[in-house]
């Protein structure tokens, strides 16, 4: 399973979501996009984004103010 990494550190709402949406478009169904962000608001937002778009939020973790999300592209 391939993984693409998207770095949106330093970007604020709504750019992390908009960049992620663009990146997801370019990967294959079932592939994983790893998003690295510093916007604390992105925690709830990626949750909502994934629920709404049919992608799966596989994992999310925080370390030292950096948030990492793994999003698996849905069909």
């Amino acid at each position: 399973m391939s993984k693409t990494v998207l770095d949106v550190k330093g970007l604020n709402c709504p750019l992390p979501i908009l960049r992620a949406k663009k990146a997801i478009k370019d990967i294959a169904t079932g592939s994983v996009l790893e998003v690295i962000a510093t916007d604390p608001g992105s925690v709830k937002d990626f949750d909502a984004f994934c629920r709404q778009t049919g992608n799966e939020l596989v994992s999310q973790k925080e370390a030292g103010g950096v948030y990492t999300f793994e999003i698996k592209k849905g069909a």
């Binding site: 709504p14 949406k21 478009k25 984004f49 778009t53 069909a75």
Partner: protein, 162 residues
Amino acid sequence: MAATGKSMSLIVTKGTLDWAYPPFILATTAASMGLEVSMFFTFYGLTLLRKKLDLRVTTLGNAAMEMPMMGMHMAMPNLMGAMPGMESLTTTMMKNLIKKKGVASIEELRDLAVEAEIRMIGCQMTLDLFEYQPGDLIDGIELAGAATYIETATKSDINLFI
């Protein structure tokens, strides 16, 4: 990504640097979440469609506006905000904050809205009223009136007036 079949419409009535944000943020985000989005630009909102944006913000009449400064929050009395040069100063401060905090510029959000194929409708009456030409606006703008908006709103799941 599959479209959700949901849709949203927004009426955009304000053209200042601060008030330009909510409609463009919500519209681009909704589009990224699979909603079909229409924006109807009327009155001062129509200026947000001009080719060259020169958005400004003033503290006048905005008692809630405080700027972070040296660890504090500073508000400006109306009398000071009315002095020559204060609007430029406030606008520059706001633009610097926007850049520093990684917030997108309105130009950037508008480009993303165009790219997301958001339907943008300019109010024909406003165009006539303020004597703008269709050529003053960015390409791809539909010009129409209230009935077009109402028809769009009737079919939309979310309708916002900003």
